[in-house]
């Protein structure tokens, strides 16, 4: 039984089924939705067990105890139609992390992980933005560093073509087997007197994994907020150019 070896969690399977059943193809096909739910639940609750035609007839098609599948083919008819419906569903909604298959001759669904680019997030310009690292020993510099991270996060988030993912959200997504961001934006901050220097690296996590962009920014701190904003504007302008997107969050492009 394929389900025994399936690395997919119950939560992932249930979420996938819920999405499928809420689609227009299943919403009006109430019995087939019940059929799919029944066999999926049976497979999740008792991996490796068979699902009998008789049990589906009783549970889904309201057959009585004297129901004889040999002379009443309703479940076989509906299984063939359900397979066709699943095929049509996946044609219109390419499977994300998994797909369900009910092989001919049985009623146990297989939960098949789908390889390849797994999600819409990956195909978008999604950027993982961990907190900028503060390389100065002065604890007060951490505040500047955190503030600069926030400023950059805020400006990037203004661009509708970008999806900015913070560290905590990335951890949450990973825990649930969610999509991975396409880019990683890392920066470190050093200070000497009033001079501050920010080293920035943008790395593509999908494909070759090469660094897509790198730069160093310098500023003289007079007003902390103004300096953070100016640095964030410069960073945003360069990133917009590097990613070939419009800069909607700021007025300055270099």
């Amino acid at each position: 039984m394929g389900n025994l070896a399936s690395p997919l969690s119950t939560a992932v399977v249930n979420r996938h089924v819920n999405e499928a059943l809420s689609s227009p193809l299943f919403r009006k096909a109430e019995r087939q939705a019940r059929f799919l739910r029944f066999v999926v639940n049976a497979a999740l609750q008792s991996p490796g067990a068979t699902v009998k035609e008789f049990d589906i007839g009783i549970a889904v098609y309201d057959r009585r105890a004297d129901y004889d599948p040999r002379t009443d083919p309703i479940v076989r008819v509906e299984a063939a139609r359900l397979r066709a419906r699943l095929r049509e569903y996946y044609e219109g909604t390419p499977p994300d992390r998994m797909r369900i298959d009910i092989p001919k001759g049985q009623y146990v669904p297989l939960f098949i992980p789908v390889e390849g680019e797994p999600s819409h997030l990956s195909s978008e310009l999604s950027i993982l933005l961990p907190p900028f690292r503060c390389l100065s020993p002065d604890p007060g510099d951490q505040t500047f560093c955190d503030g600069l991270t926030e400023e950059v996060l805020h400006k990037l988030a203004q661009n509708p073509r970008l999806r900015v993912i913070t560290h905590s959200v990335a951890a949450w997504l990973e825990e649930r087997g969610g999509p991975k961001p396409r880019y990683l934006l890392e920066a470190s901050v050093r200070r000497s007197g009033a001079e501050v220097r920010v080293a920035l690296h943008l790395t593509e996590l999908i494909g070759r994994g090469s660094t897509g962009f790198s730069n160093i920014y310098q500023a003289t701190i007079k007003d902390i907020f103004a300096t953070q904003e100016r640095l964030a504007d410069e960073i945003l302008g360069d990133l917009s150019a590097a990613l070939h997107i419009g800069n909607t969050g700021s007025e300055s492009i270099h």
């Binding site: 109430e30 087939q32 098609y61 002379t71 009443d72 083919p73 008819v77 397979r83 419906r85 001919k104």
Partner: protein, 129 residues
């Protein structure tokens, strides 16, 4: 495999269908002899066009669109398919092998899926035949 001029199988089909889904009986306002003839002709036409899926799809979608107008719901395709397979079982007995049943289950899944597609589309301005 079924003599289309013999309407007894079609009569059996409707008898079984009304047994499985009595709620669809009022949808059939035509005299049942004529209905059986129409069903038999349609079945023969489908069988004759299995090698011409494009033309078959077009006609089935138009049929699905008309069935939507009759008030047929998606779940009602199940008893129709069940009555169809039962008709073959009942009429052909042991000559209706499991391979033949599998082939008809697949065929009916295709037929009903195309009809459903048609029922989701706007009604055609004019059916092709």
């Amino acid at each position: 495999m079924l003599p289309v001029e013999d309407l007894a199988p079609a009569d059996e089909f409707y008898g079984r269908l009304f047994q499985l889904a009595p709620e669809v009986r009022p949808m059939f306002t035509r005299e049942m002899g004529l209905q059986a003839k129409k069903f038999s002709d349609m079945l023969a036409w489908v069988i004759g066009h299995l090698e011409h899926p494009e033309e078959l799809s077009k006609e089935l979608r138009a049929l699905g669109s008309r069935h939507r107008d009759y008030g047929v719901e998606i779940d009602q395709y199940a008893p129709v398919g069940s009555a169809l397979i039962w008709m073959f079982q009942h009429t052909l007995g042991d000559r209706f092998t499991s391979d033949m049943e599998d082939a008809w289950l697949e065929a009916y899944a295709f037929i009903s899926a195309e009809m459903e597609r048609g029922s989701r589309e706007e009604p055609p301005t004019r059916a092709s035949r």
